[in-house]
């Protein structure tokens, strides 16, 4: 399971996360909701190993591994995947080539043999068609000239190929129209598995209609203020985040 204890994180001298405690058992899907600037994306990035942040205090463990002691790539090899809120363009680097390099690095780290080009392409074609991506999309530069929706679909496509055990989706629903949202949600739902944990960071409840979470957490001002089942998301949608603040008292 993912176990976060008393996590304090700062950036540019300012505290963003102020003591997060969170447990996500294997096989569960948790949603982390909260207003803009509450620290949701910071939490997702800190788990994945982005170096722009300073961890002041606390621990993050995944299946017993101390993630904070590992580099970003080591975390990826341990099964951590972050679907980015703003996937970056890498001009000239083939989309599929990047994916193959990542997958084979992970397989090496796990002591597995690397996939050869044939097996890899078979895997990629199958997953791409399931997520509704055209072949020419695979050969393009990483996110180069992709629309917002294509970038998000590409993230989910990469996730299905890399088969992470801990998937973190950062605002995956933003910029998606209804049809694309459904395709993406189907992709995520296919990945639901007793051996996999999924964390969805989101602003709105909309995505949660399609990917129904086991637990919903509310993050406000760098702390988890409230947790509950999927009905909490509906309640938030109706009553807003101010209601949570009023319930638990000001910071």
């Amino acid at each position: 399971m993912l176990k976060i204890e008393n996590l304090h994180v700062a950036a540019d001298g300012k505290e963003i996360l102020s003591g997060i405690d969170l447990e996500i058992p294997l096989g569960e899907v948790h949603a982390i909701m909260g207003p803009n600037g509450s620290g949701k994306s910071t939490l997702a990035n800190v788990i994945a190993g982005r170096e722009d942040y300073t961890v002041v205090e606390g621990s993050v463990r995944w299946r017993g591994d101390d993630l904070l002691a590992m580099t970003a790539e080591e975390r990826a090899w341990a099964g951590v995947f972050l679907a980015f809120q703003y996937p970056i363009e890498i001009p000239g680097v083939n989309n599929v080539y990047l994916l193959k390099a990542g997958l084979n690095a992970k397989r090496r780290a796990q002591g597995l043999t690397e996939l050869d080009a044939m097996d890899f392409m078979a895997l990629v074609r199958e997953q791409a068609s399931r997520i509704g991506l055209e072949e020419d999309f695979l050969a393009r530069g990483v996110n180069e000239g992709f629309s917002g929706g294509e970038k998000k679909r590409n993230e989910i496509f990469q996730m299905t190929v890399l088969e992470p055990s801990l998937a973190i989706l950062d605002e995956t629903d933003s910029g998606l129209d209804i049809d694309a949202l459904r395709v993406v949600a189907e992709g995520v739902n296919r990945l639901r598995d007793p051996e996999r944990s999924i964390v969805m960071v989101t602003h709105y409840q909309r995505l949660l209609d399609h990917i129904v979470p086991d637990v919903v957490h509310v993050l406000i001002d760098g702390r988890i203020r409230m947790s509950g089942d999927k009905t909490l998301a509906h309640e938030l949608e109706e009553r807003g985040y101010d209601w949570v603040k009023a319930e638990v008292g000001g910071a």
Partner: protein, 485 residues
Amino acid sequence: MSEAVKLKPTPRSFAATQYAAGFVTEIEQETLPPGLNEDVIRRISAMKGEPEWLLDWRLEAYRHWRTKREPRWSMVRYPPIDYQAISYYSTPRRKGDGPKSLDEVDPKLLETYEKLGIPLREQEMLAGVAVDAVFDSVSVATTFKEKLKEAGVIFCSISEAVRDHPDLVRQYLGSVVPITDNFYAALNSAVFTDGSFVYVPKGVRCPMELSTYFRINASNTGQFERTLIIADDDAYVSYLEGCTAPSRDENQLHAAVVELIALNHARIKYSTVQNWYPGDENGVGGIYNFVTKRGDCRGVGAKISWTQVETGSAITWKYPSCILRGDDSVGEFYSVALTKNYQQADTGTKMVHLGRNTHSTIVSKGISAGHGCQSYRGLVRMAKSAENARNHSQCDSLLIGDRCSAHTFPYVEIKNPTATMEHEASTSKIGEDQLFYCRQRGIPEEDAVNLIVNGFCKDVFNELPMEFAVEANRLLAVSLEGAVG
């Protein structure tokens, strides 16, 4: 899908370790004492058994050189060079007239090539690459000569060409880069000791890619090779040039001249992978690479393409250029240049449009890391006569770290109102965001840097013959080791 293509291992690789070519071959050398004067030039010419006209040409170049000053307009800085401290002739000592075949070549030399990853013996059997290997100043082995001969292609050292094809040499030598062109070209004309010569006759498509490996071995010698390539009407030739030199603490001078002549509808493709010793991480040692390369599209519809991957040398000063004289002729320049540690490069091209409907394309990719300093300097000139000339220039710079620099100096002179010229330029840093994205997908940091840099260079690598593209990839990877973090 490029991914599915299995590339065969290339027979030579510069890129096995940090600077794998940095060994010195212990071999007896015949070397003139340092210094340059008319006597030295007479001795060089006499040792090579040259005709009178060539000696006169050299002497004229020398006299002109003495009136010239080193150019100082480029963005490179180095202490003054003492041209009297350099030895201008160095040759491996050998019996008789020189090797007739590989069996006669000093085994130690062959070993050197093996270490460099150029197994000549294998080359003879491998995929049709003929190698004219230049060890210091004298060409020691030429393979595939017979097969080329069948096609009527002349591929030999320039010394042999002077002896066996004097009319061709006399007609074309210095016709693109005259002895008065610049300081280094004048010096080269005075003292050049060897180099390659190619003549492809009318209507002949050269049956294989021609390749020359130059190597500077002896200490304290400059290398001044001279290359002359002529493609007659409707001919085609692709020429590959690779360069390495051993690691030494002192700087060495390399001042080459390359002249290309393309006649009516002829095409010449000239590719360079330059990995001369760049100096160490403190900027000590390394080659000063002051090179004049120019192609003349002398005929109608001629085409000359320069592709270069420049990762070596302490200082690079080099502007492979095209004179688009014939109507409808085409010039291309594709370049990747990498500067790291304390390397400096001032490189680019000149496209001189004289004929009507002439087109040129410039794609320059500069990568700067460490304390590297890099400048793109390019001239696009469209003369009054260049009706409907067109140029497209694209100059991109990639910075790694925050102590390096990139500069762009585009010069444009347009004298004909029908001309079209486009210039795009960009400068970017390898972003933390790009690196994190790759690493999050499981790609280790150094591999991620290579991936991003190779993506940046893709437009140029696509222009290289496949073997060279693979080598260029690996060379960049080795050169970038430790460039980040």
